[in-house]
Symmetry: C2
Subunit: 350 residues, 2 copies
C-alpha cells in the first residue's frame, strides 16, 4: 500500500509538532511544509521536508532572505493527498477553496468553526464518521481533553452531567514576550464558555456547561470538574473507566506532582520531544467521590494534545485505517504515549 | 456611652487595615498596636496609636532600633476591653491564654481553627450568636465571601446546592519578592478544599463543595460557582437577591471590568485606602441562569474583605450594638461601602 502524501501548511506551535509526528508514521510521507515566516521559526524546519512559501509574497520574502524554497503552496498541494492546515485562527477558512480546487483533502484545527468543514473530530469518539470525507476539523486542545475525559465516563454509562471550570494558560511560551505572565485572571466574558458547545459538536449527547478564564501562567490548561453520575458510584468504578480509556494518563500529588509545572518538568525528564504531553493528565488522588458526584482535576498540554488526533484524522479522511482502534494504536505507539507516566500500565505501547 | 477600647496585635496585611477601620468608628478607641517588626512595616504605624512590643524580645529589638514604644503586649492588654489578634496563622492560638488571664475579649482571624474560639463569625449570618461572648473567629477572606454570596441566595430561599472552584492569588503583593508570580497553577491537594467546611462553621445548612487552586497572580481571589436552585428561577430573582444582600457589589464586563486587575485599578481610582475592596464584586453580566442552575463569578479582595466583619465582631463581643443591622450600618457608612461601584444604588451609604 502506498504511503499517504501529507503537506503541513503553517509551521507554528501545532504545525511543527504535526510535521514531526507525520515523519514518525510508517504509512505517511511528509511531502512539504508551507509557511510565511522567514526567521528561526521556519529555519528550524530545514532538513525535515522541502519548504514552500504559503503565499506568493511569502515566497518572495523567503527567497530574498536567502532561504532555499521549493515553490509556493500551489506547487505543494498539487503533489499531496491531504493538507493539514495549522495556520493561525481563521486564516485556514480562507484556504479551503484552494484545497477544493486542487482536489486534496484537508484537516483544519480548532481555531476554525465547526461549519467550515461540517465535521469535528476526536478520534476515540467519531473516527468512523470521518472515514472518506473531504475534510474535518480537529477540535481545540480544551475540547479534545473534554471529549476524552468525559467521553470515557459517558462510554462507561456513568456520566449524567458535567459542570467545569477551565483555567487556561495566558499565552504560549514562544510568544510570551508579546503578552506573557499577566498577573491577573481574565474570566471569559460569556457563560457558558465556548468549549462546552464545541465538545457537543463531537458528542452532542453530553450534558455539560463550561466556565472559562485565562490564568496568569504560560504553560498548559487546568480543568476542574463537578460531575453528576447516573448512579451512586465507587471511586474504583471511576478509576476503571479512566484506566480503560485511551489518551488519558494518571498523575498523583503523592508522587510530588503537585502543580502544573511539576508535570511539565516530568515530561522533559521523560525525554518527550519539546516536553510534549499528548495525554490528558488526570490527578488520580484528587478524584473524589461523594454519593453520585465526582470531582476531578486534570491538566492539558495545549501545545501538543491535538497532535495524535490530527494524525488519526489524516487516516480517517484518506481511509488508510478502517477504524479508530487501528489508527490510534499506530499513532500512540509511534509517539510513545502511555496510560501512566511513572508506573507501567497495560496501555503502555509494546 | 463610653467607647470600646481596642488593641490590635499584629500589624500585618489585616491588622493595619483593622487599625485604620477602628480609628474611623465613632464608638471605638484604638488604644495601641503590638507587633514584632522593627522595619517599615511598623514604622508606618507611628502617629496612629502607641506601639507595643508583642513579646519581650520584640520590645527589646524595637528599642534597640531606636523606636519609641509604650511597653509590651502585657501592658497593652491590661488597658483595653478587647484585642483583635491579627498575628500570623497559628500564632494567635498561642496568645489566647494571655487574653483570658487578663480578662479581655478577643477576636481571632481565619488562619486559626474554629475550635480555638468555638465560634466563627460573619456579621450578616450570625452576629447575634456572638453577642457577649468572650471570643470569636472572623473566618477567612474566601469563606467570608462564600457566606455573603451563597448566604444571600440561601436567605432568599433559592439555594439548593453549590459547587465552586476557587482560584486563589499566589501570594500577597507586599511579600511577592519571597514567592511572587509563579507561572504555574497549584491545585489544593484535597477535594473538597477547606473553604467549604469552613463556611459550614457559620452556615451549617449550606450544601456546598469547594475545589481550590493557587493561581499565578498576586492580587485577589476569583471564584467560579455552579449553583443548583430550589426551583426554576429567573435571572431577575437572582439579581434581586444580591441587590438585597449586604456587602456584595456588582461589576460588569460591559463596563470594561474584564479581569481581576481592572477591578483593582478601579478601587484605586475610587480613592479607596490601599485600593481596598471590602465588598465581594460579582460580575452581574456573567450571572447565567439555565433552568434551575445558576453560574456566577466573583472577585474577593483577600487583603481587606474581613475588615468590616472584624469591626462588627468587636461590637458583637462587647455588646455595643444590639444586632447585625445596626453594627453593619455603622461599619459600612464609616468605610464608604457600596452596592455598586459605578452606579448609585439604594444601599450606597447616605
Amino acid at each position: 500500500m502506498s504511503k499517504t502524501r501529507v503537506a503541513v501548511n503553517g509551521y507554528g506551535v501545532i504545525g511543527k509538532r504535526v510535521a514531526d509526528a507525520v515523519m514518525l508514521q510508517p504509512d505517511m510521507d511528509l511531502v512539504g511544509i508551507a509557511d510565511v515566516a522567514t526567521d528561526w521559526r521556519i529555519m528550524a524546519a530545514r532538513g525535515k521536508a522541502p519548504i514552500y512559501g504559503a503565499t506568493d509574497d511569502a515566497a518572495h520574502a523567503m527567497r530574498a532572505a536567502g532561504m532555499d524554497i521549493a515553490g509556493t503552496l500551489g506547487d505543494l498541494i498539487s503533489a499531496v493527498d491531504i493538507v493539514v492546515d495549522t495556520t493561525p485562527k481563521r486564516v485556514a477558512a480562507g484556504n479551503i477553496q484552494r484545497y477544493r480546487d486542487a482536489g486534496v483533502k484537508f484537516v483544519l484545527q480548532g481555531g476554525e468553526s465547526h461549519e467550515t468543514t461540517g465535521h469535528s473530530f476526536v478520534a476515540q469518539a467519531n473516527y468512523e464518521s470521518a472515514l472518506g470525507r473531504e475534510s474535518t476539523r480537529v477540535v481545540s486542545c480544551n475540547t479534545t481533553s473534554i471529549v476524552r475525559v468525559l467521553g470515557a465516563l459517558h462510554d462507561a454509562g456513568l456520566l449524567a452531567s458535567a459542570r467545569g471550570v477551565l483555567i487556561r494558560r495566558a499565552t504560549d511560551p514562544w510568544e510570551s514576550h508579546l503578552g506573557g505572565i499577566m498577573n491577573t485572571v481574565v474570566p471569559e466574558a460569556r457563560i457558558p464558555s465556548h468549549q462546552g458547545p464545541d465538545a457537543q459538536t463531537v458528542m452532542p449527547e453530553l450534558d455539560l456547561v463550561t466556565i472559562a478564564a485565562k490564568g496568569a501562567h504560560t504553560e498548559t490548561h487546568n480543568h476542574y470538574w463537578t460531575l453528576r453520575m447516573t448512579k451512586q458510584v465507587t471511586r474504583d468504578e471511576v478509576l476503571d473507566a479512566f484506566r480503560a480509556a485511551p489518551r488519558v494518563a494518571f498523575i498523583r500529588m503523592s508522587d510530588g506532582l503537585v502543580a502544573l509545572n511539576s508535570t511539565i518538568e516530568l515530561m522533559r525528564d521523560l525525554g518527550r520531544p519539546r516536553g510534549d504531553m499528548w495525554e490528558v493528565a488526570i490527578w488520580e488522588d484528587l478524584i473524589t467521590v461523594q454519593d453520585d458526584e465526582v470531582y476531578l482535576t486534570y491538566q492539558v498540554h495545549n501545545e501538543s494534545i491535538v497532535v495524535p488526533e490530527t494524525i488519526d484524522a489524516i487516516r480517517a479522511l484518506t481511509g488508510s485505517a478502517p477504524d479508530a482502534a487501528s489508527s490510534m494504536r499506530m499513532t500512540d505507539a509511534t509517539l510513545g504515549m502511555t496510560g501512566d507516566f511513572l508506573t507501567p500500565s497495560p496501555r503502555q505501547p509494546e
